[in-house]
Symmetry: D2
Subunit: 350 residues, 4 copies
Amino acid sequence: MFFVSDNAAPVAPEVMAALARANAGYAMPYGNDAIMAEVRAAIRTAFEAPEAAVYLVATGTTANSLALALFCPPWASVFCHRSAHIAEDECGAPEFYTAGAKLVLVDGAAGKMTPAGLDAALAGAALGGVHNVQRGMVSLTNITEKGTAYTAAEVAALAAVAKAYGLPVHLDGARFANALVATGATPAEMTWKAGVDVVSFGGTKNGLMGVEAVVIFDPAKAWEFELRRKRAGHLFSKHRYLSAQMAAYMEDGLWLRLAAQANAVGQRLAAGIAATPGCALEAPPAANLMFATLPRAAHARARAEGAAYYIFGTDTAMTGDPATPLPARFVASWSTTAEDVDRFLALIRG
Amino acid sequence: MFFVSDNAAPVAPEVMAALARANAGYAMPYGNDAIMAEVRAAIRTAFEAPEAAVYLVATGTTANSLALALFCPPWASVFCHRSAHIAEDECGAPEFYTAGAKLVLVDGAAGKMTPAGLDAALAGAALGGVHNVQRGMVSLTNITEKGTAYTAAEVAALAAVAKAYGLPVHLDGARFANALVATGATPAEMTWKAGVDVVSFGGTKNGLMGVEAVVIFDPAKAWEFELRRKRAGHLFSKHRYLSAQMAAYMEDGLWLRLAAQANAVGQRLAAGIAATPGCALEAPPAANLMFATLPRAAHARARAEGAAYYIFGTDTAMTGDPATPLPARFVASWSTTAEDVDRFLALIRG
Amino acid sequence: MFFVSDNAAPVAPEVMAALARANAGYAMPYGNDAIMAEVRAAIRTAFEAPEAAVYLVATGTTANSLALALFCPPWASVFCHRSAHIAEDECGAPEFYTAGAKLVLVDGAAGKMTPAGLDAALAGAALGGVHNVQRGMVSLTNITEKGTAYTAAEVAALAAVAKAYGLPVHLDGARFANALVATGATPAEMTWKAGVDVVSFGGTKNGLMGVEAVVIFDPAKAWEFELRRKRAGHLFSKHRYLSAQMAAYMEDGLWLRLAAQANAVGQRLAAGIAATPGCALEAPPAANLMFATLPRAAHARARAEGAAYYIFGTDTAMTGDPATPLPARFVASWSTTAEDVDRFLALIRG
Amino acid sequence: MFFVSDNAAPVAPEVMAALARANAGYAMPYGNDAIMAEVRAAIRTAFEAPEAAVYLVATGTTANSLALALFCPPWASVFCHRSAHIAEDECGAPEFYTAGAKLVLVDGAAGKMTPAGLDAALAGAALGGVHNVQRGMVSLTNITEKGTAYTAAEVAALAAVAKAYGLPVHLDGARFANALVATGATPAEMTWKAGVDVVSFGGTKNGLMGVEAVVIFDPAKAWEFELRRKRAGHLFSKHRYLSAQMAAYMEDGLWLRLAAQANAVGQRLAAGIAATPGCALEAPPAANLMFATLPRAAHARARAEGAAYYIFGTDTAMTGDPATPLPARFVASWSTTAEDVDRFLALIRG
């Protein structure tokens, strides 16, 4: 009953096995390992993007920040949802990597920007010529930070707004596989066919030890990316161990299978919470991440049996009024079991 | 016969086993895993520094850059040897992380600064008041980039020069274990007892998959370090896998055993090269890294049998004059065997 | 009838005379001129702050940015009003100078933050520990960008909120003299007595050619300021000409006289607009800057006779429906005359 | 007898008069003043560069830093002479503005790089692929910091080396007019015809109050320059006063006349020193700046009568051995008189 985060789950056994296999003998360092060539080919194939530049880094913050820095100059703005990970959870990494670009926060229900909302934000910016920060790029997150998903068509609609202003588009896909499973889109449909220029293709939240790929559809900036990555300390000498994780992830659709597992138990959890008297979901979750309000008593029973997840608010002690609804976040992962979910649901139902 | 780099060697089996053990169940992310507490305690004990702040990152460039940024303001200089990794091999990472500090390159034979040389460089700097870059800090590398070692007394002598100017001292210990084995110093003698303020305590070149510790003896800047690390994308969500590596490294002296192995085969290699007619070492190597000049014919015989290492110069093809001496770099690792070395020596002897 | 901006006005004759006087013979460069000592003493006296560090720069953006960089680390936020000059009109200079700090925009009527609004913004920030940008400082603008003024008591109330979070306070005083004239506060009451740590003390909008002072009440950071200023290219070699302007400004209360003139004509203009049928002020202006809505026909008559000021909106042509109200900004300066104002009022009244 | 620096001289009377003329009435701010159009045209004509982008800033450090930042990415190096102003005297401004580029210092007699020396430095750099800082650009200074001049042919030879590596070239022309007078070259010959891409065209050391132009021969980067200038606080609201200075400077060849005056008295001084027993010039000065060694007694006599200039070394007191030679720097300016020089020469001759 561990619903704290999908980044607290273990590494998938297929990935551990791949690491063990990769550990034989010597390998050229710094991305010149043989496995990286396989990874590049596999990701290009999955994205139907034979020319794409593909690089590995170890954290999502790095993937996002390097992607933003590649496309947004220091004197420009990244337009993103108010709840975006780049805005809320990266301690200013985008500002650090871009050398001081600004994030412009766009509101929108359930963690999603709308084309009209994005257009209004873009239209209202950069009206002062040289005096204000210029429009730089747009960054979307899918699965959103609120647990909802953009369909490929919704991504395309937002990207079309960005393109109308001549701006590149980044997709933070920390839960990219979950988004594909949730929406049925292909990688290409969700990205370059929709107008996305660069993707943070997540692996860590979905069974890897710590690898994300940055996929840049136009390889013109590939060398600049390599320099930025190295300069930031994100080029690994023993790179084969990153490659091995990603190779295993891409092999035989493991990445989509793991996401399908996570989404399925997530949906089971969501349905169970929604069906529990006194409990309510904030928004219908699309995948494995959800926000819900439960009575304090329900939390207390679950907590007492070891359930782990974030409860929000200023009075989260289990000793207050048992009827008070307390909001919480639940994240299922590839390793969450239906039994875990059912046990938790039984507990909150008392 | 793979002497390209110690960062091309595999991960030590004890470390792989620790990763497998760490992969059971869930663990709190972002350094809040239980294993990190063990790591912190083990490193503090090893360094006899019960108050030290201890953090893990995944690459040596990161460890160095964050350490420098913590102690050197943007308008100041880091004084280091001309061949230092921070100067030659990090694509400007120190400048990026410090927001534009300057490196002042100090000459010195065999990769080592001398107290007089350092003092002269410091004395000649910052004479223009506000007009020039201020003196910021001193950074040493041990094992040096030329394969030599500073004794603890030599580190202390250099640190004393730095302290005379009020400057903090960083030690790039990418091969710290090798340096201790080579000199017989304890971790404390080589660092804080000698006047070092912050250490990049390397693991990746010595059997880990990708972990370095930053050890900050005065914990006053610990929180700033945490913010800098996060902001740079170097705080791992699945941090337990970094912790597990370092915990295994520190357990029962594995780190020193691995370094002792590497140094022993390195010395065997060095002695063998030195004893080979027509071959010469550039400087007597202290540990597992060395530069040597071999006749082209010797290189050619070794290469033909698969020996791998860097040969320098503008005419490194194996087809030229067989008597021409060509300089090369050789690095032994924990996994290099005496058999490897002997086979190589037999080859170069023809 | 030139109401575009107070920074489009000429230099006051007293200041031109001082420049001419300063042009005799040689003077030591880089702030070591004799006049700077007078300036320092005069500003310290005016602010009743005998220990304050006082520096001159040439633009308001520079004064603000250096002040923010001095007090806000790169991984922290500056809390300011949504309309603040640092947020809207400096092309990201705060982000550039702070190496990537974030601005958090606080709403508030008529360009003013309220203590409750500021407190709410602060309370809602930095809840994620190392994961999000930390609280850094608070920046106020007085006269605000909307033409209103904070009283010294209001500044103190806002600063008290900042202090409750342990944060330093910056005051953007591009129109500081106008604010003092408008509110009757002394320089000390409006700044350090109210809890302000650093002031951008404006001169350029109030009759100087291009000089602002940065007044830092705790001189501990003085040397860092000098290095930051030099490193940014803002230390003038022929500094005496900056000193001369500021010395003239401080002499015999010229700075307050010029502001009083500007405020008086500004208020005359505001009263006249308010008394004109079909015209309305957005907020009662406190000084020389105001926003007002006039029928297109009124604008057209004034424009036809050469009145200059900014009209906002997407349909600002003078050919549309004459009754449509169009918002505009008017700024009076020390050199605006009552005749100018009366002529303009006569024109808009038709 | 004030030879401290040409930036300690007064403003030329023609320039003061122009400032007074510019002070009539209102003018649009931020470079939209009418005089700036004249300036742009005059500089384009002078440089025979009708397409060049021309911008004004107030200090030489700013002109240099913005020029470097425009052409050198953060992960690259600027190759310059070891004594260059950008390396020695700007407190790291190039590193600040470029976001962390590195300066590579090239040696060369009398403050001048040679093509061979530059080529060797370039050839030795960026050999490590992604691991080290890339080659970025070359920066020359003319008049050099040692008082010598590059001829246009010498500039062209150095630029040819840069171009062979595909690098842009910057010319720090803080004393550009002096260099033209010294060598007889035209502005075009000394710059774009020789392969220079961007010039810091100095005015402050040659009779202006504080204005330098940045001349960018390919205007493709003009808008980026404007954003960088604004973002750094170097766009002046009352820009007309910068324009007025530069307009006066360009009018009727004032800039060359002032430089000719400075060079003439400088050469008179140099010849006089060289002809004085016991005194020696370090290198034959080309213009108005020179280094010379005089016996302490000579210095003492001059100092006693009020001569002002920098004496170098650790024992510069006038009380030591009167025969000891002490090195010093002398700078003549447009306002230095032949009488001043002759009086000084008489003093040192005793």
